[in-house]
């Protein structure tokens, strides 16, 4: 609604000044450049006019959406069917992951990160106090659904996207178990994964930096 108002104002200004372009610069006022909020089709010389579209592109096919729209957000609403157990994940991990992330996920060849570790020294989220502490899934990651999303899209490193949903559930279960977050006997599916709460989820805060004199 607010954008519609701005469009109307631009149109009027353009009429009054004899051109949409001059209307844009007049509305911008000072030396602050017009933001793209004001930069629509009506602000371009020779363009079709404010509030109109170029109407390029085409409606995406269901197959394209199905292939690309695989992201899983924090609530796990998009999690696909399938399931996998900790034991299945342990076998998969040893075969496909340990060569980079180390046996048991405790770290392998740099720069591949450690995935597992609940060393007592790193508990309590004291990472700002001690630069030597190593972040892992268990002691840092705020959402378990992120494991599923990332493993599914990006792992294993040399063949990303090759794992089945069952395999990704199994690996997620294994990594959560190894970090002491689900029991060794766990089997995860969409419903079970949505229920997992990571121990340090509430430690993440919004960016309060706003510019100005104070260093934050």
């Amino acid at each position: 609604m607010r954008r519609d108002l701005i469009t109307v104002v631009l149109l009027l200004a353009g009429t009054a000044c004899g051109g949409a372009g001059s209307g844009t610069s007049a509305s911008a006022g000072s030396t602050v450049p017009a933001t793209f909020e004001r930069y629509d089709a009506g602000a371009v010389a020779g363009g079709p006019g404010a509030g109109t579209r170029y109407a390029f592109g085409r409606q995406p096919s269901d197959s394209l959406l199905g292939a690309w729209d695989t992201d899983v957000g924090k609530n796990g609403a998009e999690l696909p069917p399938g399931k996998g157990s900790v034991a299945q994940g342990a076998t998969l991990y040893a075969a496909s992951c340990a060569s980079c992330h180390g046996v048991g996920g405790v770290g392998g060849v740099s720069p591949n990160p450690a995935l597992v570790g609940r060393d007592s020294s790193a508990e309590g989220f004291r990472f700002a106090d001690d630069p030597k502490l190593v972040k892992t899934i268990g002691n840092y990651w705020p959402y378990a659904t992120t494991i599923f999303d990332y493993v599914k899209r990006a792992m294993p490193h040399a063949n990303p996207g090759s794992l089945t949903n069952d395999e990704v559930y199994a690996l997620t279960a294994y990594l959560l178990s190894a970090n002491g977050i689900v029991p060794d006997s766990a089997t995860l599916d969409a419903a079970a994964l949505r229920e997992v709460k990571m121990p340090y989820r509430d430690r993440f805060v919004a960016d309060e930096r706003k510019g100005g004199a104070e260093v934050k």
Binding site: F56, A128, I137, V205, V215
Partner: protein, 448 residues
């Protein structure tokens, strides 16, 4: 700092080897000789092309065969000016003695830094723009690449690259800076760090593309959309969540840099550009935008690119790169070999807008002097500063301090540690500089 000992889950290969090949900077007398030859050519007349046959020039720039008469013996340089030059070529090359180089780190996933100490002005040559990628550089075909925009929009749409290029274009100059820029000097400020190692994960480019706002209008972004997911077509299908407001403000989908199509390492054929924000969120190889109501909490905004804070917290979605500056000349490994006047020159930038002021200190921060800003500072872009300094052979510690138009003053390293903790892991914008020894040798000074 040993990159293999990086404590983060991220373990970015961000901590560089120390020194780039900079032989040209170590051998000013050779550069001077070539400058003399070129100057002589100019004196003879613009129509005559002077060339030193490439084969006769060694890597150091010194003639190795068929030396031309010394300029000292032929004051006007006529003898060399009469030699037939080499023909023009499809793409240009740098002068043989000029070899600014990046230092690639990491296998496939890695980074390389812009050689700030070798550059002048503000635009980073495209082949020297810093790189940071998380799963290598994909080889994409612009004729088949697509940008899909869907989710909370009126008209889910798939655009070809050609269609993106047919929309009204804008060209703007913005810096990009990796939020890990400066990690090694912050954590372990060794004297032998170069400007490239200290701050080379930033570059400044004239970008051409389409405002994201134009595409938002094309697809009809719904009012309830608050965030969008940006996805790359690299091997890790990198994703990050971005507030929709940034799309209306100044975000662009860019397809060209410095007058030519994007380099593959900068996202060819399409890149999301979010001016002033940490570099990783300017998604390269962009293939998909999904509009939604909340952030997705991808790996790249949870496990990494979050900033631990004192009190057992971590700052998330810390997008903006605060004001920062770095003196690039003199800088390590320069050796000042002449007393007297010279510029202290460097770069300053702020992700919050324009740089308002840069101050330089030659006494380690006891006294500060306003530097000249070259040209009118542009928002979220590098600006070159200089301060003329007369060196009389004394020890000196050269520092620079930027202030942006919001009144934010670049902090010291100890200020940052005090507010964020020594384990803070991104957004290292501390005041830093260079210690000049009596013999003219220049070393990094970062413990401010």
């Amino acid at each position: 700092m040993d990159p293999t000992a990086h404590p983060s889950v991220d373990a970015e290969p961000n901590d560089p080897p120390v020194v780039a090949p900079q032989e040209a900077r170590r051998a000013p007398e050779r550069v001077s000789r070539r400058t003399l030859l070129a100057g002589a050519a100019g004196a003879v007349g613009g129509a005559i092309v002077v060339s030193i046959p490439t084969a006769a020039i060694g890597q150091s720039g010194a003639p190795t065969a068929a030396p031309a008469p010394s300029p000292a013996a032929t004051p006007a340089g006529d003898a060399s000016a009469s030699l037939l030059g080499t023909p023009t070529t499809p793409q240009g090359a740098r002068a043989a003695a000029v070899n600014p180089s990046r230092v690639p780190v990491g296998q496939v996933t890695g980074s390389s830094r812009a050689p700030l100490g070798d550059l002048t002005g503000t635009i980073t040559p495209s082949d020297l723009h810093f790189e940071r990628h998380h799963a290598g550089v994909p080889a994409l075909d612009a004729s088949t690449h697509r940008l899909l925009i869907h989710g909370l929009v009126e008209r889910p749409t798939e655009f070809s690259v050609e269609e993106i290029r047919r929309l009204p274009q804008v060209t703007r100059t913005y810096f990009i800076e990796c939020s890990g820029n400066g990690r090694a000097p912050f954590k372990d400020p060794k004297p032998n760090l170069t400007a490239q190692a200290v701050a080379g994960m930033t570059s400044n480019t004239e970008w051409t593309g389409v405002p994201l706002a134009t595409l938002f209008r094309e697809v009809g972004v719904k009012d309830e959309a608050q965030w969008f997911l940006a996805e790359g077509a690299d091997a890790c299908r990198m994703t990050r969540s971005v507030p929709v407001a940034k799309g209306w403000e100044d975000a662009m989908i860019v397809w060209a840099q410095n007058g030519e199509p994007l380099r593959p390492a900068q996202g060819y054929p399409l890149r999301l550009l979010l001016p002033g924000w940490e570099g990783n969120i300017s998604m390269k190889w962009l293939r998909r935008l999904e509009l939604g109501t909340e952030p997705w909490m991808t790996r790249w905004e949870t496990s990494v690119y979050t900033d631990p804070l004192l009190g057992g917290k971590a700052r998330q979605f810390s997008f903006v790169q605060d004001a920062k500056s770095i003196i690039t000349s003199p800088s390590h490994p320069d050796v000042i070999n002449a007393r007297g006047w010279r510029p202290i020159s460097g770069l300053a930038w702020s992700g919050r807008g324009r740089i308002a002021r840069v101050e330089v200190s030659t006494d380690g921060g006891t006294t500060w002097h306003d530097a000249e800003l070259s040209g009118t500072p542009q928002p979220k872009a590098h600006v070159r500063f200089q301060y003329m300094w007369k060196w009389e052979g004394e020890e000196a510690t050269l520092l620079s301090r930027a202030t942006d138009e919001t009144g934010y003053v670049q902090p010291t390293r100890s200020q940052l540690i005090a507010v964020r903790g020594a384990g803070t892991d991104y957004h290292f914008n501390a005041i830093a500089g260079w210690r000049v020894q009596r013999d003219g040798a220049v070393f990094y000074h970062g413990t401010t």
